[in-house]
């Protein structure tokens, strides 16, 4: 099924007239008035509904397919979270309404802050960052503010392992820092000797994901913390992989000073085809004064927003209001439904699924990037051998998986593992589903042996065949140019 562009459904003079008032004319000085209407589609309500419903059907999603996209924690998004976040009172609440008219909402936010503190072992939480990357920004900005507040002005270097997610170095740059990259060892742990050499008086801090994006737990984390702290730096925890350790070990206990959490991963708020997310940050005692505002405070029975006046050393505001409130409500509902024991089960069963997959794939002859390590909630296999021997690379496997009815794992990330697939099943997938996926990988390898071209030509059963990305970037076509008839 293909679907034309909405502009191709458009005919001049048509719209969904039940959706707007009629007969008013604005009073705008001629020089400021719009002359030519914008090129928006002119369609009926049914046409719009049909078009976007059909478009939706062209997507793979958690609700329709196994979606083991590594580092993204594509777990089931409980419908209750959406239903409760969309209660009419929550939807219609203006962000700038007085606190007295928002005690119900604020109480949820306050409790969410408290729960996140408990889960991470941190002393304070600010919910305002709107995604992981903004959480990272807040974290590194706090680290910088901390050093500045102490007059320690030359600390402008951020250390990142080579396995780090792209947002880590990009964030360091945005905060005006430079990036010192340190390598990973063949074991998957970071090169501790290189770290020792990298730290020094310019070290602002280190950004780490643990378990790392290599799908393994950094075993010498306590020593890492000691080395960085002794050098005067702080430790930033990229919480993208928090799912793996929920209730098993806490970043605060590992020695991290600041952390962001991807609530859209660990706490199962929807990914929405690209967002929204939420990158709530947690801090230890010494970074408390620097948290981004607003933060919810509780005074007796009453909740209120704490702002610049309460936290004069804050790094400031990162959004016009308070961040992605509706996402936070969803995370709150999810956490209440999981409860204490449920949180631990998240780590347990996501680890069980990942280690099971890894074991079975190894058994089937696939090459684990870190064959001697436990998987965290995810793991890497590399298709280097298949690429070399069969001419079928990781991307080919990924595309062929689509034909088998599975979303592909993350491909070619982390960059340091060649031809890699980063596979994260999450705890909400069943053994049956996982077995079917493993069987598909095995079947594709067999296909590749027999007929490599077939695999390289995949996908065949999707709305489009493989797309020409090079042409997309060279012959830029970013908007539809014809006007509607």
């Amino acid at each position: 099924m293909r679907e034309p562009l909405i502009f191709q459904h458009s005919r001049s003079g048509r719209s969904a007239v039940a959706q707007y008032p009629h007969g008013e004319k604005a009073d705008v000085p001629a020089a400021l008035r719009r002359k030519q209407p914008p090129n928006l589609p002119e369609v009926s309500e049914l046409q719009a509904v049909r078009h976007f419903t059909r478009l939706s059907q062209l997507n793979f999603s958690i609700d329709t397919h196994f979606y083991p996209l590594g580092s993204c924690t594509m777990k089931y998004n409980p419908r209750a979270c959406n239903q409760n976040a969309m209660l009419p009172e929550f939807l219609s609440r203006h962000p700038l309404g007085p606190d007295s008219a928002g005690q119900g909402f604020l109480s949820c936010m306050y409790e969410l802050q408290e729960m996140l503190k408990e889960v991470t072992g941190m002393k304070g939480v600010s919910l305002t960052p709107m995604a992981g990357a903004q959480g990272e920004f807040a974290g590194v900005a706090m680290i910088r503010a901390y050093h500045k507040a102490r007059g320690d002005l030359q600390r402008t270097e951020i250390i990142c392992p080579d396995a780090a997610h792209g947002t880590n170095p990009a964030t360091a740059t945005m905060c005006g820092c430079s990036v010192i990259e340190i390598p990973s060892l063949p074991s998957g742990d970071i090169d501790f000797e290189a770290l020792k050499k990298a730290v020094g008086p310019k070290t602002a801090g280190i950004m780490l994901t643990n378990p790392s994006t290599l799908g393994v737990f950094e075993r010498r984390i306590e020593e890492v913390a000691r080395v960085v702290h002794e050098a005067g730096g702080l430790l930033y925890y990229d919480g993208a992989n928090l799912n793996a350790i929920l209730g098993k070990v806490r970043p605060g206990d590992m020695g991290f000073d600041v952390i962001h959490m991807n609530l859209h991963k660990t706490f199962s708020t929807p990914h929405g085809g690209g967002g929204p997310g939420s990158g709530a940050v947690g801090v230890n005692q010494r970074l408390l004064p620097f948290m981004p505002v607003p933060v919810v405070g509780k005074e007796g029975d009453r909740y209120r927003w704490l702002d610049e006046r309460d936290l004069p050393q804050t790094i400031g505001r990162l959004s016009a209001f308070m961040g992605n409130a509706g996402v936070l409500l969803r995370a709150y509902v999810y956490m209440r439904m999981l409860g204490r024991a449920g949180m631990q089960r998240v780590a347990e069963f996501s680890a069980l699924n990942a280690n099971y997959m890894l074991a079975r794939l190894k058994q089937a002859g696939f090459d684990a990037a870190y064959p001697d390590r436990r998987a965290s909630h995810e793991f890497i296999i590399t298709m280097k051998r298949q690429a070399k021997e069969l001419g079928v690379n990781a991307m080919d496997f990924a595309k062929r998986l689509l034909d088998y009815g599975f979303h592909a794992p993350t491909t070619y990330f982390p960059l340091l593992v060649p031809e890699c697939l980063l596979i994260e099943p999450t705890e909400t997938e069943s053994k049956q589903e996982i077995d079917a996926f493993i069987d598909a990988l095995i079947a594709i390898e067999k296909e590749a042996l027999e007929d490599a071209a077939k695999v390289k030509g995949a996908p065949y059963t999707l709305p489009v065949r493989r797309l020409d990305d090079v042409r997309a970037a060279k012959q830029l076509d970013l908007t539809y140019q014809e006007r509607s008839g």
Binding site: V28, R34, P41, F52, L55, M337, L352
Partner: protein
């Protein structure tokens, strides 16, 4: 086990395949000293039924007061079709379209969105969203520094009629990269920024000028003159706009002789509920010449192996996952689902529907102003042409008035007195198309009571 599908048999078989005695042993690489046994501070699980009761009681506590604030977030009618489609699992539970072939729904929608936003703002290209309007302004300032190769100063001029929070956010985000923001005062009598206010900077190295239009007071700025001043002085122009206003106002692409360089704003008025301020979506459009400096995802149309058209993420070399520390921004997850809402909203309303909504908002605000300024102790601060917000001056402390109104079920407006002390007891009010005659009368009545 909520949300976990494993049967006892599954667990046994899986552990056997792994060769592990128990699930707990999967964590044996974690130093034992760090392991915790439980999360004592987390309450016990609630069933969905229990959580529903809890959330309903929280929601009811806040109720649904009559709202007259705008100040960056606007209550508009949202067609039922919008969220019925947005919350379909295929949109709701998908992620960034890394596998283009399996994400044509999201990708085509984003391409359509880009087309709509570019046309609405009068620009050539759009990205696929940023977090919100405020952070979009910060990104635009950073982008201007990259795009304005002739300027070395990284100085940005910002009228004080720009949403003060937007400026704060820009500072918080961009100052780390040594941008400096300098404010330009508005004309006290008019509430708008005179082009002549910029003359003090003529001839200096200015990287960009920001213009918010309608400005934070709801007033229309002299956009043509300011744009032309900026261009004449080698500065780029960043427009901050309410997309709803563009249904009736000249698009930034047509401001002044050449049009602006970057347009940003918050897409919230297009089908996104107030929802305590988020998630909204930031939008950004620009000229084709600057596209490689733009942050955020961009979708392009291309062809597949059979030569048939399809859509894919493009210009990824700007982005963090490829360019890492040299990326145009660190943004990764954006606000895709809200863009979905916005795109469906624009499709339902069309240009003529948007024009009606925008026009009605303006009318309603005029009626609100007329009704409220009849109340003793209330006067209008600025009389010039406006969109759908207005500044009132009261004879009483604004925060007290707001509390008194709230206890009557009315959210009366945004208190300007902290941000703009020079305006005295100033209240920013807004009426959109959702406010009826009765609503306005109810507000006037309550205000009269409060100010008695």
């Amino acid at each position: 086990m909520p949300f976990i599908p494993h049967t006892d048999t599954d667990v046994k078989e899986m552990l056997a395949a792994i060769g592990a005695p128990a699930i707990d042993s999967l964590f044996d690489e974690i130093p034992a000293s760090l392991r915790i046994q439980s999360l004592a501070g987390i309450p016990e699980a609630l069933t969905e039924m229990e959580v529903n009761r809890l959330m309903q009681s929280r929601a009811q506590r806040d109720g649904r007061p009559l709202n007259f604030i705008g100040a960056g977030a606007y209550e508009h009618h949202i067609p039922a079709a919008v969220w019925a489609i947005v919350t379909r699992g295929e949109f709701y539970s998908a992620y960034t379209p890394y596998q283009a072939e399996a994400s044509q729904g999201t990708l085509q929608l984003l391409y359509e969105y880009q087309t709509m936003m570019a046309s609405l703002t009068g620009m050539q290209v759009s990205n696929a969203s940023l977090y919100d309007g405020a952070s979009a302004l910060a990104e635009a300032c950073l982008m201007a520094v990259r795009a304005n190769r002739k300027s070395k100063s990284a100085r940005i001029l910002v009228p004080t009629t720009v949403n003060p929070t937007y400026l704060e956010v820009s500072r918080a985000i961009a100052e780390g990269q040594q941008l400096t923001f300098e404010t330009v005062a508005y004309t006290p009598g008019t509430g708008t920024t005179a082009a002549s206010a910029f003359n003090a900077y003529s001839g200096q190295d200015i990287t960009a000028v920001v213009i918010q239009h309608p400005n934070f007071f709801g007033l229309l700025e002299d956009v043509d003159a300011i744009t032309d001043w900026a261009h004449a002085n080698g500065a780029l122009v960043i427009a901050v706009v309410n997309p709803m206003s563009l249904a009736i106002l000249k698009p930034p692409g047509e401001w002044g002789a050449k049009g602006v360089d970057v347009v940003v704003g918050d897409g919230q008025p297009f089908g996104v509920p107030l929802s305590s301020g988020g998630p909204n979506f930031g939008f950004m459009t620009t000229r084709m010449e600057h596209v490689r400096q733009m942050p955020g995802r961009i979708i392009g149309r291309t062809v597949d192996l059979d030569g048939k058209p399809g859509f894919t993420l493009t210009l990824q070399a700007r982005e963090q996952h490829i360019r890492r520390s040299k990326a145009t921004s660190n943004i990764c997850t954006n606000q895709g689902l809200l863009v979905t809402a916005g795109t469906i909203y624009m499709s339902l309303l069309g240009a003529s529907g948007l024009e009606q909504v925008a026009s009605t908002c303006q009318r309603r605000t005029s009626e609100l102003v007329a009704a409220l300024t009849k109340v003793k102790g209330v006067k209008l601060a600025f009389a010039g042409p406006r969109f759908h917000e207005a500044v009132l001056q009261l004879d009483r402390k604004v925060s007290d008035v707001i509390e008194a109104l709230a206890s009557r079920g009315i959210i009366g407006g945004f208190d300007l007195s902290r941000r703009y002390p020079e305006l005295g007891n100033a209240l920013l009010v807004c009426a959109t198309e959702t406010r009826t005659d009765e609503d306005i009368a109810a507000y006037a009545k309550a205000l009269a009571e409060v100010l008695k």
